[in-house]
């Protein structure tokens, strides 16, 4: 283990984000334009995981904007063959900052890893800074899990739980074009995904979106590489997945 060789990574990522802070025009991660009140999005996923093999899944999210500052969203995910079932709720406050926006998210995620009878609950609080070309998320996760079924006795909700020490949440994104553009292609690097938060296992990949004219819909996708052991100088293949989805606002 080498603790010091990675000490420059996070400051480096921060510098990268600051470098890109000369923002262009705000359009928002959810493409919120201050007019519409509802958003719904859904995506299909196909992937390969070292432990569970091939899997397919779907996920959906509904967001309600109460004002141009406050919003609440709820989501779900089902991954077949990995047998992962997820649900989350998230409240967000948006703070405009020059040409960028700072979001404060409070989120609760529930995961059931049914193959191994494990239930995981995650509370996450994070700040998401979005500029024209770059975005950065920093926060903290609190993760608790336990085995909900003891095989011998089939007794539900045992006390054999474990609460992880607080886990830092971090992620950066880089877009090729300004966010106002009708299509975009970008890179991301982060230690979380839609429904999980890791500690030092970083996933990264490519993302794109394309607004479908006159429909209020946006096509989006992600190619996600999730290595194991990223911050132990190992970075060995663990999971690769492809997501493709549609978002509709009204």
């Amino acid at each position: 283990m080498n603790r010091f060789s990675h000490a420059f990574l996070l400051p480096g990522l921060l510098l990268l984000a600051v470098f890109g802070a000369n923002a262009q025009t705000y359009s928002g991660p959810r493409q919120f334009d201050g007019v519409h009140r509802n958003e719904v999005s859904g995506n299909l996923a196909l992937g390969y995981n070292v432990v569970s093999g091939w899997f397919v899944g779907q996920a959906g999210t509904y967001t309600r904007h109460f004002t141009d500052r406050w919003s609440l969203s709820a989501g779900e995910q089902v991954q077949i063959l990995k047998w992962l079932f997820s649900a989350d709720v998230m409240g967000t406050y948006r703070l405009p900052f020059r040409h960028s926006s700072l979001y404060f998210d409070a989120r609760l995620v529930n995961n059931v890893y049914a193959q191994w009878d494990q239930y995981e609950i995650i509370a996450n609080a994070s700040a998401f800074w979005e500029t024209s070309h770059f975005d950065l998320r920093l926060g903290m996760s609190f993760i608790h899990y336990y085995k909900y079924k003891v095989k011998e006795e089939y007794q539900w909700f045992t006390d054999a739980g474990y609460t992880e020490p607080p886990t830092i949440t971090f992620g950066v994104g880089l877009n090729m074009l300004p966010r106002t553009s009708s299509w975009n292609l970008g890179l991301f690097l982060r230690n979380y995904d839609q429904f999980y938060y890791e500690n030092w296992n970083i996933n990264w990949g490519l993302r794109f979106h394309n607004i479908i004219p006159h429909t209020g819909m946006k096509l989006f996708g992600e190619f996600n590489i999730r290595p194991a052991g990223s911050l132990s100088q190992l970075a060995t293949r663990y999971e690769t997945s492809l997501k493709l989805g549609l978002k509709y606002a009204w």
Partner: protein
């Protein structure tokens, strides 16, 4: 602005090319996250070695009084092998039945492995002197073997009971070539036959996993699912099973910059350890002590015994006493060696 777009496009193109590497084992988004030999290759090699030597695989024997074994982690041997030497001496002096090292045994340099090999050879010579009697030019017989016609072994056939798992520092650059030239296999299991006071015997099981890459990898998981690590006596039931892994399951503190297993693999392993009815799982990697229980399985994560990380004397080793009545107790073991200043 145009230059910025060109630079960003180049970055994206580089990322796309890099992403194509996902079909291979090693993934490095920026060239800073470097893997050594991939886990699939290591497990393939180790499993072939395991199969080839299955019939003459090591079986340890313990007498009615029970036995003990010594565990250490993260020695990171460089030019000063003092702590590694002390671990071997402690195990020999206290008559531990075997010694386990939880990975990151030496930093990746041929010179350090030559030093390590020399230490192990010296320790083996001492072990043979203490436990074997030379009966002719080539052959030895175990002193404890009281049979009228005891089995003989040549010096090379005598197994020095030092069993390591491989760690992430052992596989960086070409470390696997150095590590495997001494230890051969990173994925194996051993039985310990224990004579009981009533004349019967019990069998304990040792499982050594290759978790140096932060994942067991697909091949190792498939082999485990095929029952390869279940052992010869799985159907009869092992009394105790002990598992040894470099990568830790539980994080001792939040400010540790070391990867543990990913979500699914953590849950898979917790479930597997329960299925194996594991008594205790031993881990290293984070250089920090942690002890906990999860669903009836005990987990110990050991401090680093490395002189560089912990130059002051301290309790960096653990001795596990498996008593004749089957109870298992562990005790911390102090290391006194301090590096030359």
């Amino acid at each position: 602005m145009k230059t910025k777009h060109i630079l960003l496009s180049l970055l994206l193109a580089a990322a796309t090319l890099s992403a194509c590497n996902t079909l291979q084992e090693k993934i490095s988004p920026a060239g800073i996250l470097i893997a050594g030999t991939a886990v699939e290759d290591r497990v393939d090699m180790s499993y072939n070695f395991f199969l080839k030597h299955y019939e003459d695989n090591v079986i340890l024997s313990a007498d009615e009084g029970g036995y003990s074994f010594l565990v250490g982690a993260d020695s990171h041997v460089t030019t000063d092998p003092g702590r590694m030497d002390e671990m071997l001496a402690t195990g020999l002096d206290e008559n531990d039945l075997f010694y386990v090292h939880l990975g990151d045994i030496a930093d990746t340099k041929a010179q350090y492995y030559i030093t390590l090999d020399s230490l192990l050879q010296k320790a083996k010579a001492r072990y043979v002197d203490r436990n074997y009697r030379k009966i002719d030019v080539f052959n030895y017989v175990a002193i404890t073997n009281k049979d009228e016609d005891p089995a003989t072994s040549t010096y090379d056939e005598i197994v020095f009971p030092f069993f390591p798992v491989v760690g992430n520092h052992d596989i960086t650059r070409n470390g696997w070539a150095l590590w495997s030239s001494i230890f051969h296999s990173s994925f194996y299991e051993i039985d310990v036959i224990v004579m009981l006071p009533d004349g019967n015997f019990a069998v304990d099981h040792l499982i050594f996993m290759d978790s140096a890459s932060g994942t067991l990898g697909r091949t190792q998981i498939q082999l485990i699912e095929q029952g390869v690590m279940n052992g010869r006596y799985y159907a009869d039931g092992y009394r105790h099973t002990f598992v040894f892994s470099h990568t830790n399951i539980f994080r001792p503190q939040f400010n540790e910059f070391a990867s543990t297993f990913t979500r699914e693999e953590t849950f898979y392993l917790l479930d597997k350890f329960e299925e194996w009815n594991v008594t205790c799982v031993f881990c290293g990697h984070v250089h920090m002590w942690d002890e906990r229980n999860y669903n009836g399985v005990h987990y110990l994560t050991l401090e680093a015994m490395s002189e560089r990380n912990n130059p002051e004397p301290g309790y960096y080793l653990v001795r596990i006493n498996v008593n004749s009545d089957g109870t298992v107790l562990w005790e911390p073991v102090k290391m006194n060696y301090t590096p030359n200043k």
